[in-house]
């Protein structure tokens, strides 16, 4: 009573398991809600209808780290926020990835002072840096697609 009756014999498809798994991981990447500053506005507009992040299977921003596998650090990270980010990142189940969105999260940006961590890569390992102050949604989408490229090249043993 399913699709197989309408279509007849579909045959067998063979594929590398690693590619299938990475394909699945790539197009169902749920980011954790992590807007820290003005970059969050661009992140929201990336997810809204005009730029439509759901094309990449990531329309759901999870409020819980246990349900998410991508952390988009959108904005400057203060010294007080640092331990919180690390704690949330540690709670995310592997496999997990991180994007540093914008200049502040990547390197401190214009805030070169005692209050701001000079790059979130001092706190969590970052996979992709997106430049801009703030980056336009196109730039963030480019960063997400760069991350997808990276994930497609990963080996299962890397996360085992």
């Amino acid at each position: 009573m399913g699709i197989e009756q309408k279509l007849g014999d579909l045959g067998v498809v063979t594929y590398r398991l690693e590619d299938l798994v990475n394909w699945g991981r790539t197009y169902a990447m749920w980011p954790i809600l992590f807007g820290l500053a003005c970059c969050a506005i661009e992140m929201m507009s990336t997810q809204a209808s005009h730029y439509d992040a759901s094309r990449f299977g990531m329309e759901l921003n999870r409020p819980s780290p246990r349900q998410s596998d991508l952390m988009i650090v959108a904005g400057r990270v203060s010294r007080k926020m640092g331990p919180v980010i690390r704690r949330l990142y540690d709670q995310m189940p592997a496999p997990k990835w991180a994007i540093a969105m914008g200049d502040c999260a990547s390197c401190g940006g214009v805030f070169n002072n005692y209050a701001i961590v000079q790059g979130v890569d001092e706190i969590i390992p970052v996979d992709v840096y997106v430049a801009g102050c703030p980056p336009r949604p196109e730039a963030l989408i480019d960063g997400i697609m760069t991350l997808h490229e990276r994930v497609r090249g990963e080996r299962l043993k890397d996360w085992a």
């Binding site: 002072n113 005692y114 890569d121 001092e122 969590i124 390992p125």
Partner: protein, 173 residues
């Protein structure tokens, strides 16, 4: 404008010598109050029938570093009944011996004085819950002071990329 003068007149008759100076700027009145009189002045301004400054909107502190006294604490009062703002200002010479707490007049002053201590280091005498409010609990110093070091890390450009990269404390999984 007449309410500005009413405040001064009432305060002078109730607590003579409390007002050190009166300062007007663009229709706002600031009263410089003697440091040891601030609590009595606040109590009077809140309880007087005609004044009723029943809302303490903010307490903030200034660092006037080359000058002496170095610190000044401002109290921004609002009378909801009369819709009138008033600013009280106290000059503080020693930050560890600040003005007396007004938490018994307006309970919110506990938190506002905590903020003043956290960022500026002016300790309001009698407030026993002065602890870190905005900053991490192990923070050293008071960053809004003018002699607090701003902090600077060398910026990574293409010409010194590898030098900085070698020293940068990258996080691990």
């Amino acid at each position: 404008m007449e309410r500005h003068d009413l405040v001064v007149q009432k305060l002078r008759s109730a607590l003579p010598e409390a007002i050190e100076e009166i300062y007007d700027f663009r229709g706002e009145r600031t009263l410089f109050i003697k440091k040891d009189k601030i609590k009595a002045v606040c109590q009077f301004l809140r309880d007087d029938e005609a004044l009723q400054y029943n809302f303490l909107s903010d307490i903030c502190a200034d660092d006037l570093l080359p000058e002496f006294p170095r610190f000044a604490v401002s109290y921004h009062l609002y009378s909801i009944a009369n819709q009138h703002y008033l600013r009280l200002r106290v000059q503080v010479e020693d930050p560890d011996d600040g003005p007396e707490t007004v938490a018994s007049v307006w309970p919110v002053a506990t938190w506002l004085e905590m903020e003043v201590w956290d960022l500026m280091g002016v300790r309001c005498v009698g407030n026993n819950s002065l602890r870190r409010l905005f900053l991490p609990e192990d923070w050293q110093g008071h960053p809004l002071r003018k002699d607090y070091p701003l902090g600077y890390e060398e910026v990574q450009f293409s010409f010194n990329y590898e030098e900085i990269d070698a020293k940068k404390p990258y996080a691990r999984d």
